[in-house]
Symmetry: C2
Subunit: 100 residues, 2 copies
């Protein structure tokens, strides 16, 4: 998955050992897994050359990072102009997230 | 590595089979490797759930994606508050890029 961090989410990630991001659509700090339970326990942090992005290697609780239920948010492959699903579906989102 | 794409760079990537990005600092289309020779030949394209980011799996010509000479831009690991280098250095940037 790819997500945005601000200073607060970066600091929370380091303090807690759990991945925190900043939701630009909801304008708030967001601990990954706070509603789904699919928390990400940090195993390793890699920093890029110009210091504006990081890779978090994690232990993915629940075995799924994506709110769609797939293991990866990058669950679709573009193959000669056609899209096919290449990731494993772990859960059905309708059963995991309550309807409002 | 992580980089930004606009429509033009996305289309050029699909047309040519080589990774193109958009440089926001230089405000121009950028073929990865156009100055270093370290072109990225596309092997696979993965699309994320909300369709605003992609993973390109590539054949990395020159064996290095990073302008610093490391194989990966994410060549440093944050380990208990200390930074250590964890990627292989492939070339010396001073020898690869001409001084202006």
């Amino acid at each position: 998955m790819l997500a945005f961090m601000n200073n607060e989410s970066w600091n929370k990630t380091l303090e807690t050992g759990k991945a925190h991001f900043f939701s630009r659509s909801r304008n708030k700090l967001w601990m990954k897994g706070e509603s789904s339970g699919n928390v990400q326990e940090i195993k390793e942090i890699l920093i890029d050359c110009d210091e504006d992005s990081v890779v978090l290697k994690v232990n993915q609780i629940g075995d799924s990072a994506c709110h769609t239920g797939y293991r990866s948010c990058f669950y679709r492959q573009l193959d000669n102009g056609k899209i096919k699903i290449v990731s494993k579906k772990i859960f059905e989102p309708g059963e995991r997230y309550g309807k409002a």
